[in-house]
């Protein structure tokens, strides 16, 4: 296994990946535009049914939606890692960078750069709507009372519900069996949604399992997914 790591080469690789993926960012861009409409739409819908949840509700929607979209990044941007489309798609494998650098570049783009960009864009839109005094947008997201309810364990639980499935999606991206890919995608989405949901409602719903057990279980699963992804990336045949 090639574990060599050179920071300069890694920088080049990340720049390369962003550039190489840029045509695919239009797909992400389209999703982003539709998703940016999603939050205001939900807020308006709630107002019609007679209950508004204010900035806390918007915060929940923004975070859930950003994370749900970001987790799909490995599948959206790195389709050329494996040979799903055509024969001879060996470009990524033959790029002069170590396997570790290639894996970390995918992780960085999928788990940090794109999610951050999505969250910032979502918050910016929400802030803009608040700044121009759109009805139902009374407070900025960072002024939300809901922020007081966030605790470190809950944050860990939510973060793992994003990190674990995203590692899983990196693994799934290199899997060729279609049935296995679909099953894995559904399971990973289920994990992500339920993990985030549990972190939110654990106090309200009187769930008997302590949060730390859920965190440990998620961490173990995330480590397994990270290993599977790394192993698959190393052993993928061309």
């Amino acid at each position: 296994m090639s574990l060599s790591f050179d920071i300069k080469r890694f920088g080049k690789l990340v720049r390369h990946d962003v550039h190489r993926c840029s045509p695919r960012f239009s797909i992400v861009g389209q999703m982003l535009i539709s998703s940016l409409l999603f939050v205001p739409m939900m807020v308006v819908t709630q107002s019609f049914v007679g209950s508004t949840y204010g900035s806390g509700y918007r915060l929940l929607l923004v975070v859930t939606e950003s994370v749900a979209m970001a987790s799909q990044i490995p599948l959206l941007l790195y389709t050329y890692v494996s040979q799903k489309k055509k024969r001879g798609d060996i470009y990524f494998a033959m790029l002069p960078a170590s396997k570790l650098e290639k894996y970390l570049s995918i992780v960085l783009l999928s788990m940090v750069l794109v999610p951050l960009a999505l969250t910032v864009a979502n918050i910016a839109i929400d802030s803009l709507l608040t700044a121009v005094h759109v009805p139902l947008y009374h407070k900025y997201l960072w002024q939300s009372d809901a922020l007081d309810m966030i605790s470190l364990p809950k944050l860990c639980c939510s973060a793992l519900a994003f990190i674990g499935p995203t590692f899983g999606f990196i693994y799934v991206n290199a899997v060729r069996n279609k049935a296995w890919r679909i099953i894995m995608c559904l399971l990973l989405l289920l994990w992500m949604i339920s993990g985030m949901f549990v972190a939110l409602i654990i106090e309200v719903a009187e769930i008997d399992i302590p949060l730390w057990i859920i965190i440990v279980a998620e961490a173990a699963l995330a480590a397994l997914m990270a290993f599977l992804g790394w192993n698959k990336m190393n052993r993928i045949g061309y």
Partner: protein
């Protein structure tokens, strides 16, 4: 130098290579020939680390190829028969993305080769014919300046003038001390270019010899009668072309197609002849 030692490879239950040994010293254009499905492309993939052998080793400059170390990948370029090209990219953008990873890349060489092939560097791949895409990729691959250049069916899709340009470009590059391995069915396209010649058969290497050694061992006779002692005979306009063991040390012009057929039909005889 590329070295393959005691290599076994199989796809599920299909054995492709069984205990093969080959070496490719630097500074030559190797022709990799063989029937369909004997593993020519697989061998190229093993050399550049895209396939892992079941047993044995394949090293490039002493580095195990399937480790795909950056130091090895910087020295080797593989141009497959079919390539997935990025959407909306131009050849110039394509090399711009690759160039930072190859310290030996030369923009001047790239533009010169594109000019020789008469393809515009700023034209989108999707607006090009298959042949133009192929020429662009050949130009991009050769301009990276790697020590080892692996080409799988490089003349597929090239028109007749482009094939001549291709041969002339490769000859110049080989003179610079680069190692080029060409896997092809189109032997006529690379005749007078490849030397040494490697012929693969199912599971094994049938022949691995320089053109000089081949013509020392075999004689290619044109225009005569069909000979009884010929390893291979073919009727051509003007008479038969016979491939016979060269017992009298006669000089003759190598015909790769005839050689290929002679080798395939007389595996054991050829083996004995070249082991002498």
């Amino acid at each position: 130098m590329i070295e393959i030692k005691n290599l076994d490879f199989c796809y599920k239950k299909t054995v492709v290579f069984s205990n093969i040994n080959l070496s490719f010293p630097q500074g030559a254009i190797y022709g990799l020939l063989g029937e369909n499905g004997v593993g020519k492309t697989t061998l190229l993939k093993i050399i550049c680390g895209l396939q892992r052998p079941m047993r044995g080793t394949c090293t490039v400059n002493g580095m195990t190829s399937h480790d795909r170390l950056p130091e090895m990948l910087q020295r080797i370029v593989f141009l497959p028969d079919e390539v997935t090209l990025p959407d909306n990219a131009t050849p110039q953008k394509y090399v711009d993305e690759l160039a930072p990873f190859y310290p030996t890349f030369s923009q001047g060489t790239f533009l010169h080769l594109m000019q020789e092939f008469e393809v515009e560097a700023e034209r989108k791949f999707k607006e090009m014919s298959f042949g133009q895409q192929k020429k662009s990729l050949i130009a991009a691959s050769l301009s990276l300046g790697t020590d080892y250049i692996l080409l799988d069916e490089p003349t597929n899709g090239l028109d007749i003038p482009s094939k001549a340009q291709f041969r002339s470009i490769l000859s110049k590059i080989a003179d610079e001390g680069k190692t080029i391995i060409i896997s092809t069915h189109q032997v006529k396209d690379v005749e007078n270019l490849i030397d040494p010649i490697v012929i693969l058969s199912h599971n094994a290497v049938l022949l691995d010899a320089s053109v000089q050694k081949i013509t020392e061992k075999l004689c290619f006779e044109y225009g005569g009668e069909e000979r009884d002692d010929a390893l291979y005979s073919e009727l051509l306009p003007g008479g038969y072309m016979n491939v016979i063991p060269n017992e009298n040390g006669e000089e003759s012009q190598l015909n790769i197609e005839a050689l290929f057929n002679a080798v395939l039909r007389n595996k054991n005889v050829i083996k004995e002849l070249f082991e002498k």
